[in-house]
Amino acid sequence: MAIATTQARAPTFFDRVVAATPGDPHLEMCIQCGTCGGSCPSGPDMDHTPRALFAMINAGMIEKVLSSNTPWYCVACYYCMVRCPQQIHITDIMYTLKRMSIQEGLYQKGSAPEAPGFSQTFIDYVENYGRSFELGLATRYHLSYHPLDMMKMAPMGIGMLRKGRMDLTPKKIKGMDQLKSILAKAKELEAKL
């Protein structure tokens, strides 16, 4: 009789990151070459390069990884992803880390504590109107997070309105009830992951 050689174990941080990323992100393939950090346009402003972050994920350093500003400073240009010799889905992993850092509330401890506010404000409009709304997004986000900078941004906002490039009111799609039901169900399913 064959003896089971593997034992069920609790999922590690590494397993959780992989499971929360769509498709197969090939994270276990990282050879620590650093091509990602070298290709990154915002790399110099990051707490850790993607390469370093992946080693930290492997080492189970949950708190350090999820409070790093790296995922929030990722501009999603996909340069690292197309250059990675191991085809690791680096950009997708950055999105996974953003979601995990919000779920665990760890982004607040890091050096980019306001970054999720922009995404959250953006999606609030999408969830209520089905379309994005730039004027509302800009005023609500900056009033909440950088109220003192509002005066500096006013000329740009006025310029956008004068050039006819910004609406004063949001547009709403017809199927709003349908979209709300879809998103409510999706969130319920996300919670079960």
Binding site: G23, E114, S119, R165, I173, Q178, K185
Partner: protein, 322 residues
């Protein structure tokens, strides 16, 4: 040729000139657009940062609309690079990741919808013009060549990277937009940073990071003495045009390079008027550059002073300037 059309939120207002010019050049090229009815936002790069299943479901609602509204085999066209990325990415990962696809379809079902992964092929506007229509067809419609106009062709990121459904051009050094501008008669300058990032939404999260990325691009275009930067993405246009003044202030530079959509320059080459192409909504005035090719753009309209209405409460007003 008939295509489904997904304009996306930017093209409704902030990039309305891209929408206008895309439709204006489509007509002479024999491209017919059927706009998706009641489409919703693609979530940009924000929804995916908060909730995975909801982000994919949001995009999948559009794909499902396309599946129901478009005749089978009709491609969907997105002129915005980020919409293009999200639509192709959602479809691709739904094909690769069966559990994710099942969850997205359970969510869609709550709204009485369904999407079969792989049934909608989404393409960027640039793809269909260069691949389906072809440069010869474009060249045949040029009646006012952009002779002498020095153009820097800027691709940005997402049209060439990562290529979720199909690869387009080279992901580090693409040349298709250069060739398109050449057949329109423009003098295309070298622009080594052509596929580097404009900073995307970083202008909102960390301005110094974003302004540096924008500065590099402007410096590069200025080095090669470009009269105009031509782009194919609303985010790139916004960052390079609207934030150019902020870059100048932050770095004490004095760049003054107009940023236009490729469809606007194509339209001018086709002999269309600046108004039809939405020219005049830019922050950096393109008139001096366009004067080089003999295009006159009427001066921007100043908003008319509002007449006091009887229903309105009396408000203090500045005296009108004579």
């Amino acid at each position: 040729m008939k295509y489904g059309y997904y304009p996306g939120c930017s093209l409704e207002k902030n990039a309305a000139s891209y929408d206008m010019s895309a439709k204006a050049v489509a007509r002479p090229l024999g491209i017919e657009f059927q706009e998706l009815q009641d489409w919703n936002c693609c979530g940009a790069s924000e929804y995916i940062s908060i909730n995975r299943v909801a982000a994919y479901s949001l995009v999948a609602r559009n794909l499902s609309l396309a599946e129901t509204q478009l005749e089978k085999g009709t491609d969907l066209v997105a002129p915005c690079s980020l919409c293009f990325l999200n639509l192709t990415k959602a479809d691709q990962y739904m094909q690769e990741d069966a559990p994710l696809s099942a969850k997205v379809n359970t969510a869609l079902n709550a709204g009485g919808m369904h999407y079969d992964p792989g049934s909608i092929h989404t393409r960027h506007l640039m793809h269909i013009i260069t691949e389906d229509i072809g440069l010869d067809e474009v060249a045949a419609r040029v009646i006012r060549p952009l002779t002498g106009l020095r153009v820097a062709a800027y691709y940005g990121c997402l049209i060439v990277r990562p290529g979720f459904q199909s690869k387009f051009d080279n992901f580090e050094y693409p040349t298709s937009l250069d060739r398109l501008m050449k057949v329109c008669g423009a003098q295309v300058v070298d622009f080594p940073l052509r596929a580097h990032c404009c900073g995307g939404h970083m202008t909102q999260i960390s301005q110094p990071v974003a302004l540096e990325l924008i500065r590099r691009l402007l410096e590069n275009a200025a080095e090669y003495k470009a009269d105009v930067i031509v782009t194919l993405c609303p985010m790139c246009q916004l960052n390079l045009d609207v934030y150019q003044a902020d870059v100048n202030k932050y770095f004490k530079t004095n760049y003054n390079i107009p940023v236009l959509y490729f469809t606007q320059l194509m339209g001018l080459a086709f002999g269309l008027s600046a108004q039809e192409l939405g020219i005049g909504k830019e922050f950096i005035d393109p008139r001096p550059a366009l004067a080089k090719i003999g295009v006159e753009v009427p001066p921007p309209e100043e908003p008319k002073p509002k007449k006091p209405s009887k229903e309105e409460l009396p408000m203090p007003r500045m005296p009108e300037e004579s």
